[in-house]
């Protein structure tokens, strides 16, 4: 790792100020991706601004409209233990391993937007709102492709607001070495329709499978998917699986998620 200065502000405003001054800075969430990245010298900021000491960004509560509001610096372990949105807690309980879940945060995962991360699919399927120090961003506007988001330079995810669906389930086909999703599908049945979000599969990062959403909105059963096909165009091919294999998994896992929801 190249050296850097470490700052640990205790208020969002102080973190934003540090991230906007002239020193090349990067926010540090739980560090479970960023620290390995720094070790590989794939990033070399002059300063890391840790968000881990900002208490106002930690914790889980419900707002007046029943949405689950999770602070951006809340760990996966805390979300896993919460249980008020069972499918979300179940998803969080299978990210990485226990020690990773004790450090990794929801804000860090979403800001990184790894194409195989679990959280992006939950945010997109739940139609959640990403709250930053500057604005609120709808899930449909937030994800902009592999490792790319609507966040501006120095913008911090302070909170994520999840509407709790009537039914939901996440199915993850584990890539056992990395414990990321080879493919993961989050299905959420809302009062106004079904949303299906797929992670791990596409070269463009998390995406909604709109044909499945239409079919499931009129018939919420795995059988409703039987006539649908998933194109392997733009799917990821790597040593763990071909594009065609991933496309196949998308449909299989969507069916399993619907059955389990």
């Amino acid at each position: 790792m190249y050296n850097f200065d470490l700052e640990r502000p205790t208020r969002v405003a102080d973190a934003v100020k540090l991230l906007s001054d002239s020193v090349e800075s990067q926010p540090l969430g739980g560090g479970q991706t960023l620290i390995p990245t720094l070790k590989q010298r794939l990033a070399s900021p002059d300063r890391l601004v840790s968000l881990g000491a900002i208490d106002e960004m930690k914790g889980i509560c419900q707002d007046d409209s029943g949405r689950l509001c999770i602070g951006g610096a809340t760990t996966h372990a805390a979300v896993a233990a919460d249980g008020s949105y069972p499918a979300l807690s179940a998803m969080a309980s299978h990210i990485g391993d226990p020690a990773v879940r004790n450090r990794g945060t929801i804000g860090g995962s979403l800001a990184n937007n790894d194409p195989a991360a679990c959280y992006p699919s939950a945010v997109l399927a739940s139609n959640a709102t990403v709250v930053t120090n500057a604005r609120e961003i709808a899930a449909d506007d937030y994800f902009e492709g592999m490792f790319s988001t609507a966040l501006d330079e120095g913008e911090i995810i302070t909170e994520v607001k999840f509407p709790v669906p009537e039914k939901a389930n996440y199915q993850k086909f584990l890539q056992p070495a990395s414990r990321f999703a080879l493919v993961g599908v989050f299905v959420a049945k809302h009062s106004d329709g079904v949303r299906v979000a797929v992670t791990g599969a596409s070269n463009n990062g998390v995406f909604r499978w709109s044909e499945a959403e239409a079919a499931l909105s009129s018939d919420f059963s795995a059988g409703a998917l039987s006539d649908l096909t998933v194109s392997a165009d733009d799917m990821i091919t790597d040593l763990h699986g071909s594009a065609a294999y991933r496309a196949h998994l998308v449909k299989v896992l969507t069916g399993r998620a619907v059955s389990a929801a």
Partner: protein, 161 residues
């Protein structure tokens, strides 16, 4: 260099660290607590697991500066007050839960974390909890058996030693 202070195994310690200094490096190189092993340095193997404010974390993937003010426990802090092995450590010895021993500090720290949250885990729960701790010798059977035994459960149904 920045000064950091923390409590490690019940003692107040401090030292000067760079921004990039990892908690594992601070423990091993500054405090000479070399029981915390660095196996992979890529967050995969879990040999470096320590407890920070009561939670298991990978010390190779946390900056020392972020542990400023924290309460840290390493494998050196796990023995009983009289120096004898604690229940988990003794169970690893009794059930041959190690061969080369490199992964053992992390295994013991993860096991302690599991048993704190789940005092009577099933075999499956133990195996799932140890996903982030890799052992290349034992095949895990005797590690699982040791943790079952440390939790006071019958281990006769688990694979033979």
């Amino acid at each position: 260099m920045t000064k950091v202070s923390m409590t490690v195994n019940g003692k107040s310690v401090s030292g000067n660290v760079e921004g990039r200094t990892l908690l594992s490096a601070f423990l091993r190189e500054d405090l000479k607590l070399t029981g915390t092993h660095v196996g992979c340095d890529t967050s995969q193997c879990g040999a470096c697991v320590v407890h920070v404010n009561g939670e298991a974390v990978k010390a190779c993937t946390m900056l020392a500066g972020e542990a400023d003010g924290a309460d840290v426990t390493t494998i050196e802090g796990m023995a009983n007050d009289d120096g004898s092995l604690n229940a988990i450590q003794q169970a690893f010895q009794d059930h041959h839960g190690l061969q080369c021993g490199f992964c053992t500090p992390g295994m013991v720290m993860s096991a302690a974390s599991l048993l704190k949250d789940n005092p009577k885990p099933s075999e499956g729960e133990i195996r799932e909890y140890l996903e982030g701790n890799i052992c290349r010798c034992t095949g895990y059977h005797n590690i699982v058996k040791a943790i079952m035994a440390a939790s006071g459960q019958d281990v006769s149904a688990i694979a033979a030693e």
